[in-house]
């Protein structure tokens, strides 16, 4: 296969089409605009439909209708727009509809900024809207991985009948990298969806719904959803880099993990036993892999473009057995290798002096 140089947003959009996505509903917002730009041209070529909705609220509800009709469908947005979609995402989770939602994160809160950030972590991994529910959250770190995860995202959505979020950021959306796209598989089979509303021809009606007025019934539904989220644990994925002997493990996802990876090599050149653990699924969180990666660790540092969000899940998943420190920049600023190395050296010196951190 030939590699092509593509912008992240466009590569993601093409990968979605190749994963069988034929419907896109969205609303303009920076830094994800190249996704709708690309799909507005591309989807009609493959018999698909692109609709620019009047709002993110309308867009996600169009996704609900199309997903309920059995289509492979996606929407994309960024922070403020993802907040507007939360109502619809909650309904989609409640009604158990498969779809893919892309968040190319930017700085917040409020209108925030348009530069890359990872400050929507809690919103993505803890549900985000009202009610007890979870999204499957995938966090690519390269454009190639973003492309590779699109097919997986649609498959997971169908398998679990659950919304899947691709949690990217402005860097991944805007940068260009060489990618190998999956082949255009015209015989791609989308799993049959006998529950979809397609007209009740020769069968009893299908109903797409999230309302359970009887509290016992709703509790049963909630427990069913919980079982599904438990089952999703088997999907957890993470990547380790030089953690075998690491006394200090950096943990980061997405773009921040790329900076952290460079730090591992720089730290090792200075004789520090540094490694990296990069969760690829943020929900489910790859707990076992994280624990394994941190077996030898005296200290763990989260590298994040948020103000201490990832750190909570890292502490929790390490069961508070290892001290976990924070290193990050926010508001659209990106942590540098120098920032992280400085933090590592402070910790290493403290260890040397036998001090408790």
């Amino acid at each position: 296969m030939v590699k092509v140089l593509m912008k992240g947003n466009e590569a993601l959009a093409e990968a979605a089409v190749r994963a069988g996505c034929r419907y896109f509903f969205g609303y303009p917002i920076t830094p994800q605009n190249e996704i709708p730009h690309y799909l507005a041209k591309r989807l009609p070529e493959v018999g698909g439909v692109f609709v620019q909705a009047e709002s993110e609220i309308a867009a996600i509800n169009m996704v609900y209708g199309a997903a309920g009709s059995g289509a492979r469908v996606m929407t994309s947005s960024s922070g403020p727009g993802i907040s507007l979609k939360q109502e619809g995402i909650s309904y989609i989770a409640g009604a158990e509809l498969p779809c893919v939602i892309v968040n190319m994160q930017r700085g917040g809160p409020g209108l925030g900024g348009i530069q890359p950030a990872q400050s929507d972590y809690f919103q993505a991994v803890k549900g985000g809207g009202h009610g007890d529910y979870r999204l499957l959250v995938l966090a690519p770190a390269t454009i190639q991985e973003m492309v590779d995860l699109m097919g997986k995202a649609f498959d997971l959505a169908d398998e679990y009948r659950n919304p899947v979020m691709i949690l990217g950021d402005g860097i991944l959306g805007q940068m260009m990298e060489a990618v190998e796209l999956p082949s255009e598989d015209l015989s791609l089979k989308i799993p049959s969806k006998p529950w979809a509303t397609t007209g009740a021809k020769g069968r009893t009606p299908n109903i797409i719904n999230s309302l359970y007025l009887d509290p016992l019934e709703l509790e049963k539904h909630n427990l069913h959803l919980r079982n599904k989220y438990e089952q999703m644990r088997q999907e957890s994925m993470g990547e380790t880099y030089k953690t075998e002997d690491a006394e200090l493990v950096l943990v980061g996802y997405g773009s921040a993990a790329r900076v952290a990876k460079a730090v591992v090599d720089q730290g090792r050149a200075r004789g520090l036993k540094v490694g990296l653990f990069r969760p690829i699924t943020l929900f489910p969180f790859p707990k076992d892999d994280l624990q394994k990666a941190c077996r030898q660790a005296n200290d763990v540092i989260t590298v994040e473009m948020s103000l201490g969000q990832l750190i909570e899940d890292v502490r929790y998943n390490l069961e508070f057995k290892v001290p976990v420190h924070y290193c990050g920049r926010v508001g659209g600023m990106i942590p540098t290798t120098r920032d992280i190395l400085a933090k590592i050296e402070v910790l290493a010196n403290l260890q040397g002096e036998g001090e408790k951190v």
């Binding site: 419907y23 609709v51 509800n61 209708g65 309920g68 509303t197 397609t198 009740a200």
Partner: protein, 249 residues
């Protein structure tokens, strides 16, 4: 034995939860009769709203989706874009369509989405207990306009059909009522025409049906029908607001 009257196939045998004297039951039946007559029961997908008719998915014997409050036109857009050869309708009340869902209905109309909306206007929020609606009449008492709707405080009732009739993507907009048999018959004709235009792929159609809410109006069912005729129709005049052809329904 000849059957002269029976339940339409497009309705289930479920007992509705509607209050005595409420006209939702009549409107459900009209929609179901039209679907039966057009022979499209097995290719129709309905969207129920949030409000009194939230449980419509239990009453229509059709594939149904339940939508978030006000978002039925967006949900119907998603359904229809996937099911281009199917018949799609939304069934929405005045709080749903004329308040929280104004953006969705206006833009579905503007895009000329090829589905039909049944807009049930009873000038009040029924399900939540009688709060003021955007269509509540001036001086009308509600839980949240206890002194009567005062335009200096609560603004004016909104005429959705007239507003939507100004939109190019809307092909057929009519306001009908179900307060007497003649009007019921006209209402059915209008609903049928809307569905037929949809089948012909003409674009967005909406039928506003004036409806009663005896419970929250604090009137008997009979008084409610009279109140609809005497008070609502002057503010919400019946008739075709937009049609692709000349003439009446």
């Amino acid at each position: 034995m000849i059957t002269v009257f029976e339940r339409p196939k497009s309705l289930t045998s479920a007992k509705t939860h509607y209050c005595p004297g409420c006209t939702h039951g009549i409107i459900h039946r009209l929609v179901a009769e039209v679907i039966d007559e057009l022979g499209v029961r097995e290719k129709t997908i309905g969207v129920s709203p949030v409000g009194c008719s939230v449980l419509a998915y239990n009453y229509f014997n059709l594939d149904m989706q339940q939508a978030a409050h006000g978002r039925a036109p967006a949900v119907a857009t998603g359904i229809k874009r996937v099911n281009r050869d199917k018949v799609v309708f939304t069934y929405q009340g005045d709080g749903d369509l004329a308040s929280i869902g104004t953006a969705e209905i206006i833009h579905a109309a503007a895009r000329g989405e090829n589905f039909t909306t049944i807009f049930v206007n009873n000038a009040i929020y029924g399900m939540t207990g009688g709060q003021m609606a955007p269509t509540t009449l001036l001086e009308q008492v509600s839980q949240t306009s206890p002194q009567g709707r005062d335009p200096s405080l609560q603004g004016y009732p909104i005429r959705m059909s007239e507003m939507l009739a100004t939109i190019d993507g809307a092909v057929f907009i009519a306001r009908v009522s179900v307060h007497n048999p003649q009007e019921v018959s006209k209402a059915k004709k209008a609903i049928k025409k809307a569905f037929e235009l949809q089948q012909a792929g003409r674009g967005f159609t909406l039928i506003e049906v004036l409806s009663t809410c005896p419970t929250n109006w604090g009137l008997s069912p009979r008084e409610a029908l009279k109140w609809l005729a005497d008070k609502m129709i002057p503010v919400y005049p019946l008739g075709v607001k937009k049609t692709p052809e000349e003439g009446e329904i």
